[in-house]
């Protein structure tokens, strides 16, 4: 068995992990599993793609940075896309989720997110058709790094970006007042309100962080694989499995869970075949639910 699966697994795992951070935050702070999270990914990616095309139309062809397949337009577009996805999440919360949350039936919110997911995805299909597109059609040469492993410059850059983002979110959660408020609300909502935590602000930050990271994960898929309206929906099960494996509410857990699932998927692709890939996250999910339902870093519900 070639060790190449480690690189593939780490990359898939980064995409899953970045998405799972949003899932785990919504689950622990807003107390519902958001089935529309995958579609935030897809919307963010298409928004980024639209900005890249707009920049391309204004400034003409821009040379890529060093050995990478993309230039500064993609970086600018990614920031715009992240902002857009965060706004989309906030908007959806305002018109739909927050109203249902105030009625107090958590599971209705899950159902609404399922409906919203269907509508968002089909709207993408309507606008951009279901034909796959790409950020760049350039082919990159993978460099050998020993042990039979090859890696492209894009892949190195994206792994580094993931590491920076995860570190950033971790610092936000542990070193800032906002982050500590978020943790407090997820651990004990009633007590958090009593000590005067601004719940509305925490909810906003949750959506902004979740939406922005979903966009980055989506763009990573767009750069390394392809862009399709279903790209986010197909990531939904791995993301949920990663969030539960890591322990709901734990950011390091979500990332580690994502990496484990990514590596397991890449290993399964080598051993069994690519067509069974999607079953891997289900098997891991079931195993976690049977053996240790609170996950690796989870805390028992209070």
């Amino acid at each position: 068995m070639s060790l190449q699966f480690i690189v593939d697994g780490l990359l898939t795992g980064s995409m899953i992990g970045l998405g799972a951070i949003g899932v785990t935050l919504t689950y622990s702070i807003l107390r519902f599993s958001n089935f529309a999270h995958g579609d935030f990914m897809a919307w963010g990616t298409y928004a980024t793609l639209a900005v890249v095309s707009a920049i391309g139309a204004t400034f003409g062809k821009v040379a890529p940075i060093g050995p990478l397949s993309f230039g500064w337009p993609l970086l600018v577009a990614l920031v715009v896309g992240m902002a857009f996805t965060a706004l989309l999440a906030l908007l959806l919360d305002k018109v739909l989720f927050s109203r249902l949350r105030s009625q107090g039936q958590a599971i209705i919110v899950v159902m609404a997110s399922f409906g919203a997911s269907m509508a968002l995805r089909s709207l993408l299909e309507f606008t951009f058709t279901s034909r796959p597109t790409y950020f760049s059609r350039a082919i990159q040469i993978a460099m050998p790094v020993g042990f039979g492993i090859r890696i492209t410059p894009d892949q190195i850059a994206l792994l580094a970006l993931t590491a920076v983002l995860v570190l950033g979110v971790h610092l936000l959660m542990t070193r800032t007042q906002t982050g500590r408020s978020m943790q407090a609300l997820s651990q004990n909502a009633a007590l958090a309100r009593i000590v005067g935590i601004d719940v509305a602000k925490v909810v906003r930050v949750t959506w902004i962080v979740g939406g922005a990271l979903a966009c980055v994960a989506g763009v990573m898929i767009g750069i390394l694989v392809q862009i399709r309206p279903f790209m986010g929906f197909d990531m939904l099960l791995p993301m949920f499995a990663a969030a539960i494996l890591g322990g709901i509410g734990s950011i390091p857990g979500a990332v580690l869970g994502g990496l484990i699932i990514g590596l397991a998927e890449a290993g399964a692709v080598q051993l069994i075949g690519a067509e069974w890939r999607a079953a891997v996250s289900f098997i891991i999910l079931m195993a976690v639910l049977f053996v240790r339902p609170i996950g690796l870093f989870g805390v028992r519900e209070r």
């Binding site: 739909l96 958590a106 899950v110 058709t129 067509e275 069974w276 079953a279 289900f282």
Partner: protein
Amino acid sequence: MIDLVGYGAFFLTTALIFSLVTLGLNLQWGLTGLFNVGLAGFVAIGAYTSALLTTPDDAARLGGFGLPIVVGCAGAMVVGGVAAALTGMATLRLRSDYLAITTFGVAVVVQLVALNAQKLTGGPFGIGFIPRPFGGLAETPLLFNLSNLAVVSVVTLIAYLALEHLSRSPWGRVLKALREDERAAISLGKSARFYRVQAFAVGGAIMALAGALQAHFTGFIAPDNYLPILTFQVWVMLIVGGSGSNLGAVVGSVLVWGIWAGSGTATSVFFPPEQQARAASLQIVAIGVMLCVILLIRPNGLFGDRPRRARFGKRAKLATAKSSSNS
């Protein structure tokens, strides 16, 4: 005119098969409060089980046992029920969201097996030559459609009456009690998990039966029939009809299927052929928005019995009057 009757029969048959799925979902969600977002998977399990049991022997894949259709349907219910029971046992001791995520995963895996386990399911091309109860009548479409409708109507009626009876039985009252106030029900000595697994399994069996009926009615099944859109349609049907009400499940199914088929016909008339795929996705957007709007403004649907929290004044009185007349 005769064409119209034939089409009406065809339409109603499909709608009633949908309403059978919705009845199963109503038992799970409406009565017991169990959230199933992978029901397409259970419908698919039923369809494939029955197809495997009843089709003539086929060298290209496993089975084709050539058994009678009734045996196929019974087998579908057993396998669907067992699959649902296993899903329930894995997740029902945990938070309700975990069941949602797991059922979602079940649908993904069933879809994967349907696509890839060629030996079992025929892969992307599906299974053909599934025996149809009135296949001999296919020469005269009107008679064929009407006899299908008769069979499906009878099955739906039986399921409806059985579920009505169940929901009024002591068993159904325990489920309602668990949904409304779990602690109170447990303190009366009812095992919450055991009752919920039962309800989930019976619901899954009904969904599988609907899948089997659909397979025997069209004679051909493929993985594409069981995409998440099916789950979504059935949810909209239940919410429109009003969760908790079996009558609502049936009426909601016919109504939503009418809207769906009608808007499908409209898009095929008003949009040029190359734009049809896009128009179809717009149809899904519309129905997704419809679900969200109903959840926001009328969460009880047309016939829903889910009692709202009593408020002061007229509304509270109305609510109590309504619930006392129901019981």
